[in-house]
């Protein structure tokens, strides 16, 4: 049994314990266990802090079901590492922000939160396709109830929409997984990759394409990629704050994680083939999400649409098939988790005080809640990609990667960076600047210690990830290099494959520069 097994199953244990003990203990238990899990999970960092390596750690590979051969195969690499830690870090913070807000069915609420943690950790460590699918579905259940029970007025519509959208994708993915099983005779992911790279399993381009699309659509709905995004604003607006935070910070990343983990290495050929269309959708999403965010009267919807825009950057980065683009994409997954998670928390703080998500019920908050306003400002700046803060690094790398493929991609996606400043600063001006109105003066108080405790780790990470980037980026770079290699091998394997775009720019030798300059 490795540390990873422990980290994976502790939330399940906590889930059972919370359900078993009386509800007066629930939130304390939830806080204690989730904090404990986070501290234990920090031990997972150990193998990744030295030299950058693409090797997997904490591998456990057991038979779960004999026939069909489904394995309990989990391991951790640089791709799953930070997403796992993000999940274990956010869970106790979500308990903290729900502390006073949740008064109804307290036991079930915290139990679902821990079950959600179990599910997402499982998604990020599963190395067996069927196991992955099981965890993928497990995450749906608690989120369905978190929105459906503790949400706002239109929660039933939102949660059903969320569920159906995601299920539609999941069914496709399941079918593709079963088909792969029929061809490879195993669900074991590393083994399938092995079979593919050795040539013992040959997928024709025509097999690859539907398989790729089945996986990709399931993931794209989760991301969500334009035009599959309309479940997101509804789900966010109706969800309780902690639900929004987990949804935005972790669950959306399951989609982008899946694309990098599965779509690229297995179906590199089809991925390359579809890249232009996907990039176009990603760029549309970046601009569209930002422009629609600009005109939202509701704060949570604004942040939700901004997520559509930000996740567009992640998808764009992945499908550049460049080291910079992919590193930026994975980094941006974490950045978005932190800055958007923080934004949802802050909007939640305001909602708890003033019981409104409409921007026009605010104004002049800076007068009455200076500390809250400063934290909101820092988060805003992180979200719009200001240097020194985390998002800048991710956006820069993604756009650099995009520019290597085509300057047009970078130029179009770069518009999103301009628009992000427009919608966030305009939001900030309307909510925080000016004279404080009657309602604001009566209801808004400054951030309290519990809330500060919940958001401080995120603010610290914004600065840390923006300045001490290499610590975080090293494990990611190593894995991405390997994934790029795998998706390339696949390309070369197909005789009729299109030539891969050059992933690296010309070296800086004088002769080459002259040549490049002439060629252009």
């Amino acid at each position: 049994m490795t540390l990873l097994d422990i980290v994976l199953f502790l939330p399940l244990v906590a889930f059972i314990v919370i359900l078993a003990l009386p509800k007066t203990l629930s939130r304390t238990l939830a806080l204690a266990t989730s904090m404990g899990i986070f501290i234990v999970s920090l031990g997972l960092l150990a193998p990744f802090l030295g030299k950058p390596t693409s090797a997997v750690s904490f591998e456990t590979n057991l038979i779960w079901i004999q026939s069909p051969a489904i394995r309990y195969h989990i391991s951790l690499d640089g791709l799953g590492l930070w997403l796992l830690l993000l999940s274990t870090m956010l869970t106790p913070l979500c308990v903290l922000i729900s502390w006073n807000y949740i008064t109804d069915r307290v036991k079930e609420y915290y139990a679902f939160l821990l079950l959600l943690e179990f599910g997402v950790i499982g998604v990020f460590v599963s190395m067996d396709l069927f196991l992955f699918y099981v965890f993928w579905e497990v995450t749906l259940v608690p989120m369905y109830f978190l929105i459906g029970i503790w949400g706002h007025d239109r929660r039933i519509y939102a949660t059903v929409k969320f569920f159906l959208y995601t299920m539609a994708g999941s069914v496709l993915m399941l079918a593709a997984i079963l088909y792969l099983y029929s061809r490879a005779g195993t669900f074991d992911y590393p083994m399938i990759l092995q079979l593919l790279s050795s040539g013992r399993l040959q997928l024709t381009a025509a097999e690859q394409l539907p398989l790729f699309l089945a996986f990709f659509i399931a993931f794209a709905i989760k991301v969500p990629l334009f035009p599959l995004h309309t479940w997101l604003p509804d789900a966010h607006v109706e969800a309780p704050t902690a639900g929004s935070v987990m949804l935005a910070s972790v669950m959306l990343k399951m989609g982008t994680y899946g694309i990098v983990r599965f779509c690229l290495p297995m179906f590199g050929n089809a991925a390359h083939q579809c890249a232009p269309v996907i990039i176009a959708l990603a760029i549309i999403g970046i601009i569209y999400g930002a422009l629609v965010a600009l005109v939202q009267p509701n704060m949570k919807k604004l942040v939700a649409y901004s997520s559509v825009s930000h996740l567009g950057f992640v998808v764009l980065g992945i499908f550049t098939f460049t080291q910079q683009g992919m590193d930026g994409a994975v980094y941006q997954m974490l950045n978005h988790g932190i800055s958007t998670g923080a934004l949802f928390m802050l909007v939640g703080f305001l909602y708890e005080r003033n019981h409104s998500l409409e921007i026009k019920s605010y104004g002049g908050v800076a007068n009455v809640a200076p500390v809250l306003s400063v934290i909101f400002m820092v988060t805003t700046l992180a979200s719009i990609g200001l240097p020194v803060l985390n998002n800048f690094v991710g956006e820069f790398l993604v756009l650099q990667g995009a520019a290597i493929v085509s300057w047009k991609y970078a130029a179009l996606a770069g518009l999103g960076v301009i628009f992000s400043a427009c919608y966030m600063l305009w939001l900030y001006q309307r909510a925080f600047f000016g004279e404080a109105g009657e309602g604001v003066r009566h209801h808004i108080t400054d951030i309290n210690k519990r809330e500060l405790l919940a958001i401080a780790p995120l603010v610290i990470l914004m600065v840390w990830m923006g300045t001490g980037t290499s610590l975080f980026l090293k494990p990611i770079t190593a894995v991405n290099a390997q994934i790029l290699e795998q998706s390339k091998i696949n390309v070369e394997y197909q005789v009729k494959a299109p030539p891969a775009p050059s992933a690296e720019p010309a070296p800086a030798t004088t002769a080459a520069v002259v040549e490049v300059a002439r060629a252009r």
Binding site: L174, P210, L399, I404, W407, L473, V514, V516, A517
Partner: protein, 621 residues
């Protein structure tokens, strides 16, 4: 190691101390931290430069790796060469003076600590900008100073106009930064690095581009960035509005330092620009057009800070003109002298505004010469310097620019000379309206305290003697060799005369026969209104970009696209499914076993379909 990092670190520490604890500090303590940190930074910069002299090649210090992804490596690396040295002295020197002045000017304001925290943060980013040894780190400082500009313009956040001006500054700068970042991407693609030494070394080997190509694209995109930060056409619109900020901010950020970052960046990238003559020509014309346009607006404004704001835009245009004709060192010289006299003009104007209890309209001033004599005396020094009266600092740098421009194109030269006359005219107009004639206001003017006028006096000396003391082109000789040396005495006489004509004309109109301006403006009618309303550029942008974007996003994208179209399809599918469901309700037996069967059946159908597609196509390519 000379620990260059300490130069930006001191103000950063000041920012953190004042930002976190400032609310509990006394104003004296806040001032001490703020001024002290910048003064330390100045002292440390001076110490480093003395130790590094003569600094003919850049001194580089690497601290740690910031971003490493594939072949892209961005270390946290600072460097000094002579260009950086000049900028360091200007930024920390003038920065110190303005910090001292601000402790007096801001004394009665709320949020005193907040103001100085922002100001120190600005110093940190500005110093990062000039010390950076690669484009990305420069960009960190570049966006960072923009942030501080935003925060300080919106300092009086209760005023809607102030926070709107802050937003406008940030967003317009973002448009510029968009260009800058595209240029960075192309630089990395072309040269494989963002490191200054590597890029410039490689750029030297590139042949001069006769027709537009990669170098031209990079330079034009860099120009977009520079136009945003340094308020050039078409992105200058934020700077006049930026005057909503407190006056020391206008002096430090929006006159002396931040807005010259674009000039610095272009001069820094000279190795690339010299390979792109088309881009250079564009830089020159953009600069010249900006200089002319802003100067004409400056003639018509009544808000004293607006006059100097347009003057700044115009003078920055002058600097770009210099860069565009290849006179990089003359451009930087003007950065230095302009920092002296324009900081002085703003701080002096602040002193006037302070004396008149926040009156900014010059029509309510007049006759202040005797009431606030010290302010008048120091402002007079800035006045003659910007007007280009011989042997003042402004005269040296302006003549250097005009000389180079004449060498490049006589047409540009004559436009430049005319602009110089207009410059002298509008500054003289502001001086005459403020200090001469009868006092037209109601407040009781009082002279500013020594903490405010002593920095002014220092700047006054620099405005007069700065050009003579600091021969920037000579200092920059190792970086930018002077190609066409020698003074043309005829050009200098024409240039000097232009300034004197401007002053004289203003004297006639505003002192000798004060009725003249009104009759001229009314006889010009439409032309006057066009210029007075700043050529309606803000209104045009609003009508063609801002409003269509917002209303298009609201009705077109959101209400039609998202809610009606996409969600309509989704909900329609839901309704369709329910309708089908009515028909196949019999399948819903309630037995788990039969559901499982359906799931499997569905999956099998999909697999067969996938196989069929595979078979029929036999490969898609």
């Amino acid at each position: 190691m000379h620990h260059l990092w300490l130069i930006p670190f001191f103000p950063l520490a000041g920012f953190l101390v004042n930002g976190i604890f400032g609310r509990r500090f006394s104003k004296g303590l806040v001032s001490m931290v703020a001024v002290g940190s910048v003064a330390l930074s100045f002292a440390w910069a001076l110490k480093c430069l003395l130790a590094l002299a003569p600094l003919e090649t850049p001194h580089v210090e690497r601290y740690f790796m910031w971003i490493q992804s594939g072949s892209l490596a961005i270390p946290y690396e600072l460097s000094v060469d002579r260009l950086t040295a000049i900028m360091l002295m200007v930024v920390t020197g003038i920065g110190s003076l303005i910090h001292i002045y601000a402790t007096g000017y801001m004394h009665d304001e709320d949020g005193f600590y907040r103001f100085f925290a922002y100001l120190n943060l600005f110093m940190f980013f500005m110093l990062t900008l000039v010390l950076a040894n690669n484009y990305l780190l420069l960009f960190v400082g570049w966006e960072g100073v923009g942030l501080c500009s935003y925060l300080l313009i919106g300092y009086y956040f209760l005023k809607h106009s102030a926070s709107t001006a802050g937003n406008k500054a940030f967003i317009v700068n973002r448009i510029g930064d968009f260009g800058f970042s595209l240029a960075m991407f192309l630089i990395f693609i072309t040269f494989g690095s963002l490191d200054f030494q590597k890029v410039f070394e490689a750029a030297k080997a590139v042949p001069v581009e006769v027709s537009a190509g990669m170098m031209t694209a990079i330079c034009l995109l860099l120009l977009v960035g520079a136009a945003g930060k340094s308020a050039q056409i078409p992105l200058y619109v934020w700077l006049p509005d930026a005057m909503e900020g407190p006056t020391p901010v206008s002096a430090l950020i929006h006159a002396a330092t931040m807005v010259t970052a674009g000039v610095y960046m272009v001069a820094r990238s000279a190795a690339i620009f010299t390979k792109a003559p088309i881009a250079m020509e564009t830089v020159a014309w953009v600069g010249l057009a900006t200089a002319v346009m802003a100067a004409t607006i400056g003639m018509t404004q009544f808000d004293i800070k607006k006059v100097y704001a347009y003057s700044t835009v115009s003078q920055l245009g002058y600097m770009f003109l210099a860069l565009g004709v290849g006179a990089f060192s003359a451009g930087i010289w003007h950065v230095v002298t302009h920092a002296f006299f324009k900081a002085l003009l703003f701080l002096g104007a602040g002193s006037v505004i302070h004396a008149l209890h926040h009156e900014q309209d010059m029509r309510n001033m007049g006759g202040l010469r005797t009431k606030i004599p010290i302010t008048f005396a120091v402002l007079a020094c800035a006045w003659i310097a910007i007007s280009g009266v011989p042997f003042t600092s402004g005269w040296y740098s302006k003549e250097a620019i005009l000389g180079a421009v004449h060498h490049h194109s006589p047409l540009m030269y004559w436009i430049g000379v005319a602009t110089a006359a207009v410059t002298a005219f509008y500054v003289s107009r502001s001086m005459f309206m403020t200090f001469f004639g009868e006092y037209r206001g109601h407040a009781h003017p009082h002279e500013s305290p020594p903490v405010m006028w002593v920095p002014l006096a220092v700047l006054a000396v620099l405005s007069l003697a700065g050009g003579f003391l600091f021969n920037v082109p000579h200092i920059l000789e190792p970086l930018f060799p002077v190609e066409h040396g020698g003074h043309d005495i005829m050009l200098e006489i024409i240039g000097s005369a232009a300034g004197l004509v401007g002053i004289g004309l203003a004297y006639v109109m505003y002192v000798a026969s004060p009725g003249l301006p009104d009759s001229i403006s009314s006889s010009l009618g439409g032309v006057y209104r066009l210029v007075y309303n700043k050529y309606y550029v803000d209104e045009a942008y609003d009508a063609t970009v801002v409003r269509p974007l917002v209303s298009g996003s609201r009705t077109g994208l959101w209400q039609f696209g998202d809610v009606w179209l996409i969600d309509g399809v989704v909900n329609g599918m839901g309704g369709f499914a329910r309708w089908i469901g009515g028909g196949v309700r019999t399948l819903q037996s309630g037995s788990i076993r039969s559901y499982a069967a359906w799931v499997v059946a569905g999956a099998v159908i999909f697999i067969i379909a996938a196989g069929a597609i595979a078979g029929s196509n036999g490969g898609l390519r």
